[in-house]
Amino acid sequence: MNKKFKLYFIIGLSGIVTALWFAIFVTDTRGQQINYWWQLLMGLSALIYGIFGIFTAKKWNWLKSGVGRGVFFLSLGLVMWGIGQLGWTYFLFAEPNVESPQSHLLDIIDFAAIPLWFAGIVTLSKATGAKYGLKKLSGKLLVVVVSLIMILLSWYFLVEVARGGSAYFEQAFWKQFFDLGYSIGDAIILTTAIVIFTLSWKLLGGRFRLPIITILVAFVLLYLADFWFSYRDGQGLYYNGDAVDLLYFLMITTLGLGITMLDPNRVRSSKKIAPAQTAAAPQAPDPQQQETTSEPMPAVQNPEPPAEAASPVLPKEAPDFLKVNPVAPYANPHDNNEQQKEES
Protein backbone atom coordinates (compact mmCIF):
# COMPACT_ATOMS: atom_id res chain seq x y z
CA MET A 1 0.00 0.00 0.00
CA ASN A 2 1.96 2.97 -1.20
CA LYS A 3 1.82 6.52 0.04
CA LYS A 4 0.29 7.94 -3.10
CA PHE A 5 -2.63 5.51 -2.96
CA LYS A 6 -3.30 6.26 0.70
CA LEU A 7 -3.25 10.02 0.17
CA TYR A 8 -5.55 9.91 -2.85
CA PHE A 9 -7.89 7.50 -1.08
CA ILE A 10 -8.19 9.77 1.95
CA ILE A 11 -8.74 12.87 -0.19
CA GLY A 12 -11.26 11.08 -2.40
CA LEU A 13 -13.31 9.48 0.37
CA SER A 14 -13.26 12.63 2.46
CA GLY A 15 -14.42 14.65 -0.53
CA ILE A 16 -17.38 12.35 -1.04
CA VAL A 17 -18.36 12.31 2.64
CA THR A 18 -18.03 16.08 2.89
CA ALA A 19 -20.18 16.56 -0.21
CA LEU A 20 -22.81 14.31 1.36
CA TRP A 21 -22.70 16.38 4.54
CA PHE A 22 -23.31 19.55 2.54
CA ALA A 23 -26.33 17.92 0.93
CA ILE A 24 -27.69 17.01 4.38
CA PHE A 25 -26.94 20.48 5.74
CA VAL A 26 -28.39 22.44 2.85
CA THR A 27 -31.61 20.42 2.91
CA ASP A 28 -31.72 20.63 6.74
CA THR A 29 -32.33 16.87 6.92
CA ARG A 30 -32.62 15.65 10.49
CA GLY A 31 -33.37 12.33 12.15
CA GLN A 32 -33.46 10.47 8.84
CA GLN A 33 -31.65 7.34 7.72
CA ILE A 34 -29.27 9.44 5.64
CA ASN A 35 -28.10 11.15 8.83
CA TYR A 36 -27.27 7.76 10.36
CA TRP A 37 -25.54 6.56 7.20
CA TRP A 38 -23.41 9.67 7.28
CA GLN A 39 -22.40 8.90 10.86
CA LEU A 40 -21.50 5.40 9.70
CA LEU A 41 -19.33 6.81 6.93
CA MET A 42 -17.56 9.04 9.43
CA GLY A 43 -16.77 6.12 11.69
CA LEU A 44 -15.65 3.99 8.78
CA SER A 45 -13.38 6.76 7.51
CA ALA A 46 -11.69 7.07 10.89
CA LEU A 47 -11.18 3.32 11.03
CA ILE A 48 -9.70 3.14 7.53
CA TYR A 49 -7.41 6.15 8.00
CA GLY A 50 -6.24 4.71 11.29
CA ILE A 51 -5.42 1.39 9.65
CA PHE A 52 -3.49 3.24 6.94
CA GLY A 53 -1.51 4.89 9.71
CA ILE A 54 -0.73 1.58 11.39
CA PHE A 55 0.74 0.33 8.11
CA THR A 56 2.73 3.57 7.93
CA ALA A 57 4.29 2.73 11.31
CA LYS A 58 5.74 -0.37 9.68
CA LYS A 59 7.94 1.87 7.51
CA TRP A 60 9.51 3.22 10.71
CA ASN A 61 10.18 -0.24 12.14
CA TRP A 62 6.93 -0.31 14.13
CA LEU A 63 7.50 0.31 17.83
CA LYS A 64 11.27 0.07 17.58
CA SER A 65 11.74 3.73 16.76
CA GLY A 66 10.45 6.93 18.27
CA VAL A 67 8.69 7.99 15.10
CA GLY A 68 7.29 4.50 14.62
CA ARG A 69 5.79 4.51 18.10
CA GLY A 70 4.37 7.98 17.57
CA VAL A 71 2.75 7.03 14.29
CA PHE A 72 1.44 3.76 15.73
CA PHE A 73 -0.20 5.31 18.80
CA LEU A 74 -1.70 8.17 16.83
CA SER A 75 -3.11 5.69 14.33
CA LEU A 76 -4.39 3.33 17.00
CA GLY A 77 -6.14 6.26 18.63
CA LEU A 78 -7.86 7.01 15.35
CA VAL A 79 -8.88 3.36 15.04
CA MET A 80 -10.39 3.38 18.54
CA TRP A 81 -12.23 6.61 17.78
CA GLY A 82 -13.60 5.02 14.62
CA ILE A 83 -14.70 1.87 16.43
CA GLY A 84 -16.43 3.96 19.07
CA GLN A 85 -18.18 6.00 16.41
CA LEU A 86 -19.29 2.86 14.58
CA GLY A 87 -20.62 1.51 17.87
CA TRP A 88 -22.70 4.63 18.42
CA THR A 89 -23.94 4.38 14.84
CA TYR A 90 -25.06 0.80 15.43
CA PHE A 91 -27.34 2.01 18.20
CA LEU A 92 -28.68 4.73 15.93
CA PHE A 93 -29.92 2.04 13.56
CA ALA A 94 -30.82 -0.62 16.14
CA GLU A 95 -32.42 1.58 18.82
CA PRO A 96 -33.12 4.99 17.28
CA ASN A 97 -35.39 6.00 20.14
CA VAL A 98 -32.78 5.45 22.83
CA GLU A 99 -30.80 8.62 23.47
CA SER A 100 -27.71 6.81 24.74
CA PRO A 101 -26.98 3.15 25.50
CA GLN A 102 -26.87 2.23 29.16
CA SER A 103 -23.52 0.53 28.90
CA HIS A 104 -20.44 2.74 29.05
CA LEU A 105 -18.46 0.37 26.85
CA LEU A 106 -18.62 2.71 23.87
CA ASP A 107 -17.54 5.59 26.05
CA ILE A 108 -14.55 3.57 27.17
CA ILE A 109 -13.62 2.69 23.60
CA ASP A 110 -14.02 6.29 22.48
CA PHE A 111 -12.12 7.58 25.47
CA ALA A 112 -9.27 5.17 24.79
CA ALA A 113 -8.31 7.38 21.87
CA ILE A 114 -7.29 10.18 24.24
CA PRO A 115 -4.37 8.47 26.03
CA LEU A 116 -3.29 6.87 22.77
CA TRP A 117 -3.13 10.23 21.03
CA PHE A 118 -1.31 11.69 24.00
CA ALA A 119 1.24 8.88 23.88
CA GLY A 120 1.63 9.40 20.13
CA ILE A 121 2.28 13.12 20.50
CA VAL A 122 4.80 12.62 23.28
CA THR A 123 6.78 9.91 21.51
CA LEU A 124 6.75 11.91 18.29
CA SER A 125 8.23 14.84 20.20
CA LYS A 126 11.43 12.88 20.60
CA ALA A 127 11.90 13.03 16.85
CA THR A 128 10.97 16.68 16.58
CA GLY A 129 13.70 17.73 18.98
CA ALA A 130 11.38 19.29 21.53
CA LYS A 131 13.62 18.24 24.42
CA TYR A 132 16.42 20.39 23.04
CA GLY A 133 14.12 23.38 23.21
CA LEU A 134 13.63 22.69 26.92
CA LYS A 135 17.33 23.21 27.61
CA LYS A 136 16.86 26.96 27.37
CA LEU A 137 15.14 29.01 30.06
CA SER A 138 12.85 30.47 27.40
CA GLY A 139 11.71 26.96 26.55
CA LYS A 140 10.90 26.15 30.15
CA LEU A 141 9.00 29.40 30.58
CA LEU A 142 7.09 28.70 27.40
CA VAL A 143 5.90 25.35 28.73
CA VAL A 144 4.63 26.90 31.94
CA VAL A 145 2.93 29.88 30.27
CA VAL A 146 1.23 27.88 27.50
CA SER A 147 0.04 25.25 29.97
CA LEU A 148 -1.45 27.86 32.30
CA ILE A 149 -3.21 29.67 29.48
CA MET A 150 -4.67 26.46 28.11
CA ILE A 151 -5.87 25.32 31.54
CA LEU A 152 -7.65 28.60 32.19
CA LEU A 153 -9.13 28.83 28.70
CA SER A 154 -10.24 25.22 28.75
CA TRP A 155 -11.91 25.52 32.15
CA TYR A 156 -13.75 28.62 31.03
CA PHE A 157 -14.94 27.25 27.71
CA LEU A 158 -15.55 23.65 28.67
CA VAL A 159 -17.12 24.12 32.10
CA GLU A 160 -18.49 27.69 32.31
CA VAL A 161 -19.58 28.25 28.72
CA ALA A 162 -20.35 24.73 27.49
CA ARG A 163 -21.62 23.16 30.70
CA GLY A 164 -23.20 25.97 32.65
CA GLY A 165 -20.60 26.30 35.38
CA SER A 166 -20.14 24.37 38.59
CA ALA A 167 -23.74 23.10 38.69
CA TYR A 168 -22.61 20.58 36.13
CA PHE A 169 -20.74 18.68 38.82
CA GLU A 170 -23.99 17.72 40.53
CA GLN A 171 -24.62 15.09 37.84
CA ALA A 172 -23.81 11.37 38.07
CA PHE A 173 -20.10 10.60 38.33
CA TRP A 174 -19.73 8.55 35.14
CA LYS A 175 -21.61 11.12 33.11
CA GLN A 176 -19.31 13.83 34.43
CA PHE A 177 -16.29 11.61 33.90
CA PHE A 178 -16.91 10.86 30.26
CA ASP A 179 -18.35 14.22 29.27
CA LEU A 180 -15.56 16.18 30.87
CA GLY A 181 -12.99 13.50 30.27
CA TYR A 182 -13.10 13.92 26.51
CA SER A 183 -12.82 17.67 26.78
CA ILE A 184 -10.09 17.68 29.40
CA GLY A 185 -8.23 15.02 27.46
CA ASP A 186 -8.49 17.11 24.32
CA ALA A 187 -7.18 20.13 26.20
CA ILE A 188 -4.22 18.16 27.52
CA ILE A 189 -3.42 16.80 24.07
CA LEU A 190 -3.68 20.20 22.43
CA THR A 191 -1.61 21.88 25.11
CA THR A 192 1.06 19.21 24.76
CA ALA A 193 1.01 19.48 20.98
CA ILE A 194 1.33 23.27 21.07
CA VAL A 195 4.17 23.13 23.57
CA ILE A 196 6.03 20.46 21.63
CA PHE A 197 5.57 22.22 18.34
CA THR A 198 6.67 25.57 19.74
CA LEU A 199 9.74 24.04 21.36
CA SER A 200 10.70 22.29 18.14
CA TRP A 201 9.80 25.07 15.73
CA LYS A 202 13.38 25.94 14.85
CA LEU A 203 14.58 22.35 14.94
CA LEU A 204 11.91 20.70 12.90
CA GLY A 205 12.57 20.58 9.20
CA GLY A 206 13.08 18.29 6.30
CA ARG A 207 10.16 16.54 4.73
CA PHE A 208 8.27 16.01 7.92
CA ARG A 209 7.60 19.53 9.06
CA LEU A 210 4.33 19.72 7.15
CA PRO A 211 2.99 16.37 8.46
CA ILE A 212 3.71 17.38 12.05
CA ILE A 213 1.99 20.73 11.51
CA THR A 214 -0.96 18.89 9.97
CA ILE A 215 -1.25 16.63 13.01
CA LEU A 216 -1.15 19.68 15.27
CA VAL A 217 -3.99 21.26 13.27
CA ALA A 218 -5.97 18.04 13.68
CA PHE A 219 -5.79 18.32 17.46
CA VAL A 220 -6.87 21.95 17.28
CA LEU A 221 -9.92 20.78 15.32
CA LEU A 222 -10.55 18.02 17.87
CA TYR A 223 -10.46 20.51 20.71
CA LEU A 224 -12.86 22.84 18.94
CA ALA A 225 -15.16 20.00 17.92
CA ASP A 226 -15.44 18.56 21.42
CA PHE A 227 -16.02 21.98 22.93
CA TRP A 228 -18.64 22.83 20.33
CA PHE A 229 -20.33 19.44 20.78
CA SER A 230 -20.44 19.92 24.55
CA TYR A 231 -22.03 23.31 24.04
CA ARG A 232 -24.63 22.28 21.45
CA ASP A 233 -25.47 19.04 23.23
CA GLY A 234 -25.83 20.90 26.48
CA GLN A 235 -28.20 23.35 24.78
CA GLY A 236 -30.19 20.53 23.15
CA LEU A 237 -29.26 21.74 19.68
CA TYR A 238 -27.17 18.82 18.46
CA TYR A 239 -28.43 16.36 15.83
CA ASN A 240 -26.75 13.62 13.79
CA GLY A 241 -25.10 15.27 10.83
CA ASP A 242 -24.76 18.56 12.69
CA ALA A 243 -22.08 21.10 11.74
CA VAL A 244 -20.17 19.78 14.74
CA ASP A 245 -19.94 16.43 13.01
CA LEU A 246 -18.34 18.09 10.01
CA LEU A 247 -15.70 19.48 12.35
CA TYR A 248 -15.12 16.00 13.74
CA PHE A 249 -14.84 14.68 10.21
CA LEU A 250 -12.35 17.39 9.26
CA MET A 251 -10.35 16.34 12.31
CA ILE A 252 -10.35 12.72 11.15
CA THR A 253 -9.30 13.70 7.64
CA THR A 254 -6.57 16.06 8.82
CA LEU A 255 -5.16 13.51 11.25
CA GLY A 256 -5.31 10.78 8.62
CA LEU A 257 -3.50 12.98 6.12
CA GLY A 258 -0.87 14.03 8.64
CA ILE A 259 -0.09 10.47 9.65
CA THR A 260 0.00 9.29 6.04
CA MET A 261 2.34 12.12 5.10
CA LEU A 262 4.73 10.72 7.72
CA ASP A 263 5.22 7.77 5.38
CA PRO A 264 8.93 8.06 4.52
CA ASN A 265 8.42 7.03 0.89
CA ARG A 266 8.36 9.84 -1.61
CA VAL A 267 5.34 10.32 -3.84
CA ARG A 268 7.14 10.22 -7.15
CA SER A 269 7.87 7.77 -9.96
CA SER A 270 10.91 5.52 -9.68
CA LYS A 271 14.10 6.51 -11.44
CA LYS A 272 16.94 4.43 -12.77
CA ILE A 273 19.55 4.12 -10.05
CA ALA A 274 23.02 2.68 -9.73
CA PRO A 275 24.43 0.67 -6.85
CA ALA A 276 26.04 2.47 -3.95
CA GLN A 277 29.79 2.58 -3.40
CA THR A 278 31.40 0.56 -0.65
CA ALA A 279 34.05 1.91 1.65
CA ALA A 280 36.12 -1.29 1.46
CA ALA A 281 36.56 -1.08 -2.29
CA PRO A 282 35.60 2.34 -3.53
CA GLN A 283 34.63 2.22 -7.16
CA ALA A 284 32.49 4.09 -9.60
CA PRO A 285 28.89 2.94 -9.82
CA ASP A 286 28.11 0.54 -12.63
CA PRO A 287 25.96 2.51 -15.07
CA GLN A 288 24.42 -0.71 -16.40
CA GLN A 289 22.87 -1.64 -13.07
CA GLN A 290 19.07 -1.47 -13.08
CA GLU A 291 16.97 0.10 -10.34
CA THR A 292 15.30 -3.18 -9.51
CA THR A 293 18.57 -4.99 -8.90
CA SER A 294 18.38 -7.41 -6.08
CA GLU A 295 21.96 -6.73 -5.05
CA PRO A 296 21.92 -6.07 -1.33
CA MET A 297 23.90 -3.24 0.18
CA PRO A 298 27.32 -4.76 0.90
CA ALA A 299 28.14 -4.61 4.57
CA VAL A 300 31.47 -5.27 6.20
CA GLN A 301 31.66 -8.28 8.52
CA ASN A 302 28.05 -9.20 7.93
CA PRO A 303 27.81 -12.93 7.20
CA GLU A 304 24.01 -12.97 7.21
CA PRO A 305 22.46 -12.90 3.75
CA PRO A 306 19.34 -10.84 3.22
CA ALA A 307 16.36 -12.82 4.34
CA GLU A 308 13.81 -11.63 1.82
CA ALA A 309 13.94 -10.02 -1.58
CA ALA A 310 16.44 -7.26 -1.05
CA SER A 311 15.65 -3.67 -1.72
CA PRO A 312 17.26 -1.91 -4.68
CA VAL A 313 20.67 -0.51 -4.02
CA LEU A 314 20.67 3.26 -4.04
CA PRO A 315 23.49 5.54 -5.16
CA LYS A 316 24.27 8.54 -3.08
CA GLU A 317 23.08 10.86 -5.85
CA ALA A 318 19.59 9.38 -6.16
CA PRO A 319 16.70 10.80 -4.21
CA ASP A 320 15.64 8.90 -1.13
CA PHE A 321 12.93 6.25 -1.00
CA LEU A 322 12.40 5.66 -4.66
CA LYS A 323 11.15 2.18 -4.03
CA VAL A 324 7.57 1.78 -2.88
CA ASN A 325 8.13 -1.53 -1.08
CA PRO A 326 11.10 -0.96 1.15
CA VAL A 327 12.19 -4.28 2.53
CA ALA A 328 14.83 -3.97 5.15
CA PRO A 329 17.86 -5.99 4.12
CA TYR A 330 19.44 -5.07 7.40
CA ALA A 331 19.24 -7.10 10.53
CA ASN A 332 18.02 -5.32 13.61
CA PRO A 333 20.89 -5.51 16.06
CA HIS A 334 18.46 -5.05 18.91
CA ASP A 335 16.55 -8.17 18.10
CA ASN A 336 18.46 -11.16 16.73
CA ASN A 337 15.34 -13.32 16.88
CA GLU A 338 13.57 -11.15 14.31
CA GLN A 339 16.11 -11.94 11.62
CA GLN A 340 16.13 -15.65 12.47
CA LYS A 341 12.35 -15.73 12.13
CA GLU A 342 12.54 -14.03 8.77
CA GLU A 343 15.05 -16.51 7.49
CA SER A 344 13.09 -19.57 8.67
Binding site: K59, W60, N61, K64, S65, G66, V67, G68, K126, A127, T128, G129, Y132, S200, K202, L203, L204, G205, G206, R207, F208, R209, P264, A276, Q277, T278, A279, A280, P282, M297, P298, A299, V300, Q301, N302, E304, L314, P315, K316, D320, F321, P326, A328, P329, Y330, A331, N332, P333, H334
Partner: protein, 111 residues
Protein backbone atom coordinates in the same frame (compact mmCIF):
# COMPACT_ATOMS: atom_id res chain seq x y z
CA UNK B 1 62.51 -18.23 24.46
CA UNK B 2 62.41 -14.63 25.32
CA UNK B 3 60.91 -12.39 22.83
CA UNK B 4 61.51 -8.75 23.08
CA UNK B 5 58.23 -7.12 22.48
CA UNK B 6 58.24 -4.97 19.40
CA UNK B 7 58.30 -1.31 20.19
CA UNK B 8 54.89 0.22 19.99
CA UNK B 9 54.18 2.09 16.80
CA UNK B 10 54.42 5.80 17.36
CA UNK B 11 51.01 7.24 17.99
CA UNK B 12 50.08 9.79 15.37
CA UNK B 13 47.21 12.17 15.69
CA UNK B 14 45.67 10.64 12.54
CA UNK B 15 45.23 7.10 13.89
CA UNK B 16 43.36 7.90 17.07
CA UNK B 17 41.26 10.49 15.19
CA UNK B 18 40.23 7.92 12.59
CA UNK B 19 39.23 5.49 15.29
CA UNK B 20 37.23 8.22 16.95
CA UNK B 21 35.53 9.09 13.67
CA UNK B 22 34.38 5.53 13.17
CA UNK B 23 33.10 5.42 16.74
CA UNK B 24 31.26 8.69 16.22
CA UNK B 25 29.69 7.43 13.02
CA UNK B 26 28.56 4.23 14.67
CA UNK B 27 27.08 6.06 17.63
CA UNK B 28 25.29 8.58 15.41
CA UNK B 29 23.72 5.85 13.32
CA UNK B 30 22.73 3.94 16.43
CA UNK B 31 21.05 6.98 17.96
CA UNK B 32 19.32 7.86 14.72
CA UNK B 33 18.01 4.32 14.51
CA UNK B 34 16.30 4.85 17.87
CA UNK B 35 14.46 7.83 16.39
CA UNK B 36 13.73 6.83 12.81
CA UNK B 37 14.29 3.09 12.89
CA UNK B 38 17.14 0.83 11.82
CA UNK B 39 16.05 0.56 8.20
CA UNK B 40 15.89 4.26 7.52
CA UNK B 41 18.97 5.11 9.60
CA UNK B 42 21.11 2.64 7.68
CA UNK B 43 19.56 3.66 4.39
CA UNK B 44 20.48 7.28 4.98
CA UNK B 45 24.00 6.27 5.94
CA UNK B 46 24.32 4.25 2.76
CA UNK B 47 24.10 7.49 0.77
CA UNK B 48 27.26 8.87 2.37
CA UNK B 49 30.33 8.49 0.20
CA UNK B 50 33.26 6.92 1.96
CA UNK B 51 31.20 5.24 4.67
CA UNK B 52 30.29 1.58 5.01
CA UNK B 53 28.27 0.29 7.93
CA UNK B 54 27.92 -3.19 9.33
CA UNK B 55 24.20 -3.55 9.73
CA UNK B 56 24.38 -5.91 12.69
CA UNK B 57 27.01 -4.18 14.82
CA UNK B 58 26.92 -0.61 13.45
CA UNK B 59 30.69 -0.89 12.99
CA UNK B 60 31.70 1.78 10.49
CA UNK B 61 34.52 1.82 7.99
CA UNK B 62 35.59 5.18 6.68
CA UNK B 63 37.68 5.80 3.61
CA UNK B 64 38.87 9.31 3.01
CA UNK B 65 38.54 12.31 5.29
CA UNK B 66 36.74 11.16 8.39
CA UNK B 67 35.68 14.64 9.41
CA UNK B 68 34.05 15.23 6.01
CA UNK B 69 32.35 11.84 6.11
CA UNK B 70 30.81 12.67 9.47
CA UNK B 71 29.68 16.06 8.18
CA UNK B 72 28.11 14.37 5.17
CA UNK B 73 26.41 11.84 7.43
CA UNK B 74 24.94 14.55 9.64
CA UNK B 75 23.80 16.53 6.60
CA UNK B 76 22.11 13.42 5.28
CA UNK B 77 20.09 13.09 8.44
CA UNK B 78 19.44 16.83 8.54
CA UNK B 79 18.06 16.79 5.03
CA UNK B 80 15.81 13.92 6.05
CA UNK B 81 14.47 15.17 9.35
CA UNK B 82 15.58 18.73 9.89
CA UNK B 83 17.85 20.33 12.43
CA UNK B 84 16.49 18.12 15.19
CA UNK B 85 18.56 15.35 13.63
CA UNK B 86 21.70 17.48 14.00
CA UNK B 87 21.03 17.81 17.71
CA UNK B 88 20.64 14.05 17.97
CA UNK B 89 23.99 13.62 16.21
CA UNK B 90 25.69 16.13 18.51
CA UNK B 91 24.33 14.39 21.55
CA UNK B 92 25.48 11.03 20.21
CA UNK B 93 28.99 12.29 19.49
CA UNK B 94 29.42 14.41 22.61
CA UNK B 95 31.39 11.90 24.64
CA UNK B 96 33.95 11.42 21.87
CA UNK B 97 34.61 15.06 21.10
CA UNK B 98 36.85 15.59 24.10
CA UNK B 99 39.37 13.27 22.45
CA UNK B 100 39.47 15.33 19.27
CA UNK B 101 41.41 18.54 18.80
CA UNK B 102 39.27 21.45 17.70
CA UNK B 103 40.71 21.50 14.18
CA UNK B 104 39.79 17.84 13.69
CA UNK B 105 36.25 18.16 15.04
CA UNK B 106 33.65 17.97 12.27
CA UNK B 107 32.12 21.41 11.81
CA UNK B 108 28.54 20.24 12.24
CA UNK B 109 29.38 18.77 15.62
CA UNK B 110 30.63 22.07 16.95
CA UNK B 111 27.99 23.85 18.97
Amino acid sequence: MDQTPAPAAPQTTAQPAENIYTEICGQIIKEQSRIIGVTLALEQASHVEGLAVDSSTYHCTISGNGSMVINDLIEQYRDFFGHAAVEVCREAASRYLANLPAEQTPTLLKS
